[in-house]
Symmetry: C2
DNA sequence: TTGTATGCGTTATCAT
DNA sequence: ATGATAACGCATACAA
């Protein structure tokens, strides 16, 4: 294994000082004579010079790296977010470290610590931890934080929120507008603000229409896993249908769960949407690939990632005022809801 | 923004040398008296000391960072791989940089260069580029490479392959065993070894059974995107069914495409599997969530990620001999294939 | 325009 | 057991 060539090696080969080499190879605006510049560039190329960014970064105190902490990359929603983040990061010559917190606050904190040690100055996080003290204590160390998906209260952290409450209400009202009055809601364990908001949106929409809510909540949520969500969708839909007065429509807190609901219904030989309607939440792409195509509330995942990264870049450039963004839900009307107003 | 405290600051506060501080805080085995050790640890804690790993890494010439280059994190197969990688990386206190090459060789090379500049010593790559010279030239700079999914010929790069050929044959034979004789194959543009192998597995299985192959290939593949695959699945299935002698079973080169096939068939009021059978490839989780659950060839994605990262860690530790791994396909028999042997 | 010298924060070698 | 000092590779203030 050859040892790498440094600017000093090149300086020696070109009979110049390493300062001059640095000026040339770092594209500094500092004036260097044309002939020396060309000579140095030629030698650098011939010797296959590769700069060691650790040296530069140590000197400049900037690692040109940002990080994303999300519950799990397996979740298509988060992989779309990450995809958006990575796209704009690349445009700014930044590199992205991905961290799966697995819904584990301790792991989340461990990651944050490591990232700061690695001199990551920008972080996009969907935080699961209750205790945000660690994160906040790092703000005055030059860490810039954007909270996505899960809000972080307090100063100095920009938010890209999604109006979960409105989304929950929107889905429920859509069902109501289609003539449904018995509308069930199935949800993963309500252990986070986002889930609480969706549920409250549902509850308020039911209440203001004078309807009786029917909620089934999954008991635990240790494993963050698509199949797990699917299975609890099945189980909870079963519970709902076993009630004395079963719903004519079911609203699920995410699309995976909605898939489970549909699956359980079809196992019971109930057709969607003929016999019962289903609405999901997230609007992931596969939703349009199943049968019937799933009506859902779209959360702009990819766009959220792009916006988050743009904001982060602006923050790190100290450009302009800080602000939060609240993304609005959108109804993706597909084929899983039946209009029963005529019945 | 406070300036960060360094070991020198702590040394001053503790009236010791920075060497001693370093010994304590880096958990060196070098002997330091108990009282000094405790004192330094106390002061470090009180002053909220956070080590700057850039300094350490520059000195040690190791960045404790690996990278993964994949076509797109949007693809559930690759997000599972990444999930596996990240899991074992974390266990080794490594951090993972994610790069989406978007099937663009130029972008892939750009990433590789940047990563090497960042002193990343380990790379797991599903390479799309034809020209592997850049990659190989970096091997003797201490870069360790594991090729997944797409083989890279040559020395010094370990492979974690998947037996695509066998997988293609396995799916085809399964269909044959269920009595199908007109079996169509739909595939994305055959522009990579993996896709070629699957197709050849299909062709050989057809040939050795004395059957006529029916292949539909998607013309282009610029955009790597689930919805795009879905749409070409629909289109190609349509072409197949419009033939004078349409198939009784369709095999698709990936699950997304199989979803498209099923969708197009159901649009034509053909039931799967009653009227026509479908087999996918990849075995992604959502395959079991659709109706009917998709029979598919399982590629062990998550396990592949874990193995790749383990191998990489061993390589970087210089532990043991180098070897390649060929993962074997597995038939995931679900509900999208009908047995017509009795008909 | 070029060179000299210093420091970024850390570890490690060599004295003491 | 502890300290002084020299790297690691780079950028830059200052000198020439």
């Amino acid at each position: 294994m050859n040892k790498p060539v440094t600017i000093h090696d090149i300086a020696r080969m070109a009979n110049v000082s390493s300062a001059t080499v640095s000026r040339v190879l770092s594209n500094s605006s500092y004036p260097v004579s044309k002939e020396l510049k060309e000579k140095i560039q030629r030698i650098a190329k011939e010797s296959n010079y590769i700069p060691n960014l650790l040296g530069k970064q140590l000197k400049m105190n900037s690692s040109m790296t940002i990080a994303v902490i999300i519950p799990s990359i397996i979740n298509p929603f988060y992989s779309s977010v990450l995809f958006g983040v990575e796209e704009v990061a690349r445009q700014h010559n930044f590199t992205v470290i991905t961290c799966n917190s697995l819904q584990d606050p301790a792991l989340e904190d461990e990651y944050i610590r490591t990232l700061v040690e690695k001199q990551v100055k920008g972080l996009i996080i969907s935080s699961i931890s209750k205790d945000k003290r660690l994160l906040k204590s790092l703000l005055d160390r030059g860490l810039h934080v954007i909270a996505i998906d899960q809000k972080i209260e307090g100063e100095g952290i920009s938010q890209i929120e999604f109006d979960y409450h409105k989304g929950g209400a929107m889905a429920t009202r859509h069902l109501q507008a289609k003539g449904h009055r018995q509308i069930g809601y199935v949800t993963s364990k309500i252990d986070r603000p986002s889930r609480r908001s969706i549920c409250q949106g549902y509850l308020e929409a039911m209440q203001s229409a004078g309807l009786e809510p029917m909620v089934e909540e999954s008991p635990a949520d240790e494993v963050y896993n698509a199949v797990y969500e699917f299975d609890s969708g099945k189980r909870l839909a079963g519970k709902l249908m076993d009630r004395p007065n079963p719903p004519t429509a079911i609203f699920a807190c995410n699309d995976m769960m909605a898939f489970g609901v549909i699956n359980e219904l079809s196992r019971r030989e109930l057709q969607v949407p003929q016999d019962i309607s289903v609405v999901g939440f997230d609007g992931i792409d596969v939703g349009q690939m199943i049968h019937p195509p799933l009506t859902s509330i779209k959360q702009p995942d990819y766009e959220m990632g792009k916006m988050a990264c743009k904001m982060l870049m602006d923050m790190m450039d100290d450009a302009g005022p800080m602000f939060d963004i609240v993304l609005q839900p959108k109804l993706l009307e597909r084929k899983s809801v039946r209009d029963i107003t005529g019945d």
